[in-house]
Every structure is written in structure tokens, then in C-alpha cells.
Amino acid sequence: MSEIITPSQTVGPFFAYGLAPRGRAHWDPNGTYSWKETIGDNLVTPDASGDKIQIEGRITDGDGQPINDAMIEIWQADAQGRYANSRDDRALPNTQFKGFGRSATDKNGIYGFRTIKPGAVPGPNGKSQAPHIVVCIFSRGMLRQIYTRLYFSDEKANDLDPILNLVPAARRGTLIAHRELRGGSAVYRFDIRVQGKDETVFFDI
């Protein structure tokens, strides 16, 4: 008989000083408090190989209003498609790249990361998954996290991705981050619409 798991509760509006103190959210009421950051929005480590990219987007609610108190977490493989976790037995300890990041949104609902573009990773039934990032969203007004995935607009492998192919074709576009060049570096734009028109696909996992 399994134990009842501890239920989720909302992250609330005040998490930033604890969970993302150096991030985009403005929280310090008088400039005198501080808290060290453990997890930030820059995943790039000096020894990480691969293409350095930025990810940026806006998260909006059912009225199209920016959500200025959300926390976006991302989990991804390295450029060789390996996860820094013991369950991935292909993982090699040759890099400090952790593959995890956290960004609180700013007052305009914008979040962002600096990272390395992930490689393709193994999928179900021996198929390969296109390069992607798992995205987990927390916010005031969300009693539990919602999961989505970010895929890259310049990847042909998307057409064969076993997870994307479970998504109705008309909604697949909500999972594609669009590549732009800004000052010579690649920025992938990934807006998240929590509810309503062009609602982002969220996963039941």
C-alpha cells in the first residue's frame, strides 16, 4: 500500500526572495535584505560544450494579461543529449553543466534563460526525441505546477518526435520556440499562454 503523497499548494506571490533572489523579480522592500542564490537563470558553465543560446518569453493568463509573479523552471540535457542525473546511465562526469534553471518573471511577465542548446535524447520504444527542454510553471493562482515542453524551430527532428506527435497538429505550434538573432546570438522566443486563445499545450505526466 503506497503512502498518500503530500499535496501541492500554490507557490504564492512572495516566493522570489527565497527561490529566485537574484532574478528578474523585484522583491526587496527597502534594499536591505539579501539571500544567496542557489538556482538561477544562467545554466551555462565554463566547461559546457555546445551552442550558447538564450530563451525568452512572456507568460500570460486567460485575459492575455502578463503573469508578473510566475516562476519558470527548465530541465534539459547537455549538447550531447545527456542528463546530469544517475538515471541517465550515459551521463559522463566531464562537465559541470547541470541542465536546470529557474527564472522568476519580471513586472511584464517576461522570463528568460541563458543556456546550451540540448542534443537529441532517447525516447520511448528506441525512438529518439528531438532536442527539447522540459518546462515547469509555478505561480500564484496555480495550486499545482503545470508542465510543458519547449522545442526548437530550426530542428527537422521535430517532425518525428514521439511526444510532439501525440499533440493535435493544430496545437503543436504552441510548443515551438522561434529562433531570432539578436546581436549575433541566438534567442529562442517561447511565449506561454496559460489559458484561452492559442493556449499552450500542457502535459498530464
Partner: protein, 235 residues
């Protein structure tokens, strides 16, 4: 260790849309979530070891020049999986209001005093037995705008990782016997009484330190259990 994450276990979670908590109305997906298999991407997750924390990170009463005001308390417990096995070496983060019910956040305009000696954030990593401990002060109740005369029960926010991105949990720890429980739509968004009880710490006299601090025990059960032979057949 190879865990599975049965979705049935999530049945105790609040619904995304719980209209009594008004902010869920525009912040919950309206389309059905798409069912997908758990792949390596979900079955792995970030690992933060003991190098992620520093001395006093788990003692919220020692982060400033002086001691914070309020009732000093110890909050401790174990992080477990669904089989009651310990989850070792996992990051536990907390944040909370001060003893007056005020958060160190510019958005919090509750007219209760800030405490220059209390930020209200802490973190630790569980030991080999899944054990964690914080020293802090008891957070105060505070008003919020959900409905007329709405007050949150005393609570400490918890963020825990576990073995994979599927075991990721953000929750709130409540205190036993809080008179605000019946009126709080966030607490009551968990409709199963036993599951609600999971979020309530218990008073721990045995570990209360005489002449120094009350103690509360809060065990956290994360998603994930060992597959049974029956589960293996299904796969």
C-alpha cells in the same frame, strides 16, 4: 534506483481550477492536458548536493545581526517516497512570513512590521536518512484579498526536488489545530481529509528543547515508488 510515478497518486492534488481560490480562474488551463509517456526527460531531474548550501542556511534566526522577534521553533522531518523510503541528498527550500505575518516582498503591503533581523528564507539538503531540520520563528497569519476578511492560516512554504522532475513539489506546511483552516480556500483545495492532514505538521514534544524552542515535525511524501511485478507487466 528505478522508480515509477503512477498518476493515481496525484488524485489527492488540488484541481487546477478551484474557483473558491479566485486567482485560479484565469490561471488554469482550459484545454485537457495531453497524456504522454514518462521518458528519460521526465524520469531524470536536477541534483543539488551539500555543496549547494552554506552554514546557517537552515537557521533563519542567524542570518542577521540580531535575533528575529517571535516564537522560536524547530521544524524537522523526513523526505520520503511513496514506499516510505527516505529520499537522501535532496534540496529543501523554505520561505515564510515573519512572526507578524509580513513577508519581505515589495508586493506585501500588509500593515504589519518588517523585522530587520528576519528575511524568512532557508534551505538545506536531506541527509542519508532523508532527514532535514530548520530553525526559524513561527510565521504569523496574514490577510489577503481573495474574499472579504480572508486570512491565511500560519504556514511555511516548502520547495522539494526528489529523484526526478516528476517528484518536484511545492507545498505549504501548516500548524496543528489552526482555527483558520475551515475558511482557507487554498488549504481546502485539497478535498480529501487524509491528504489535507499530510500538509499539517504535528507538535513534537519529544524534540522540543527545554527553555529554548518548540518543535514541529513535518514529513514530506514525494511521488515515486518501486514498480511491482504487476506494473512491469503493464509496461
Amino acid at each position: 534506483m528505478s522508480l515509477i510515478y503512477p498518476k493515481d497518486s496525484l488524485s489527492v492534488y488540488p484541481k487546477h481550477l478551484s474557483p473558491e481560490y479566485r486567482s485560479t480562474v484565469k490561471r488554469s488551463p482550459s484545454q485537457p492536458l495531453i497524456v504522454v509517456p514518462h521518458t528519460l526527460s521526465e524520469l531524470t531531474g536536477p541534483v543539488y548536493g551539500h555543496n549547494a548550501i552554506q552554514e546557517h542556511d537552515n537557521d533563519l534566526t542567524k542570518q542577521h545581526k540580531g535575533e528575529p522577534l517571535g516564537e522560536r521553533i524547530i521544524v524537522h522531518g523526513h523526505v520520503l517516497d511513496e514506499d516510505k523510503r527516505p529520499v537522501p541528498d535532496t534540496l529543501v527550500e523554505i520561505w515564510q512570513a515573519n512572526a507578524c505575518g509580513r513577508y519581505v516582498h515589495i508586493v506585501d503591503q500588509h500593515p504589519a512590521p518588517l523585522d530587520p533581523n528576519f528575511t524568512g528564507a532557508g534551505r538545506t539538503v536531506t541527509d542519508k536518512k532523508g532527514y532535514y531540520k530548520f530553525i526559524t520563528v513561527k510565521p504569523g497569519a496574514y490577510p489577503w484579498g481573495n474574499h472579504h476578511n480572508a486570512w491565511r492560516p500560519n504556514h511555511i512554504h516548502f520547495s522539494v526536488f526528489g529523484h526526478s522532475f516528476l517528484s518536484r513539489l511545492v507545498t505549504q506546511m501548516y500548524f496543528p489545530g489552526d482555527y483558520l483552516f475551515p475558511f482557507d480556500p487554498i488549504f481546502n483545495s485539497v478535498t480529501d481529509e487524509k491528504a489535507r492532514h499530510r500538509m499539517v505538521s504535528s507538535f513534537d514534544l519529544e524534540n522540543t528543547i527545554p527553555d529554548w524552542a518548540l518543535c514541529f515535525r513535518f514529513d514530506i511524501v514525494l511521488r515515486g515508488r518501486e514498480a511491482t511485478p504487476l506494473d512491469e507487466e503493464k509496461h
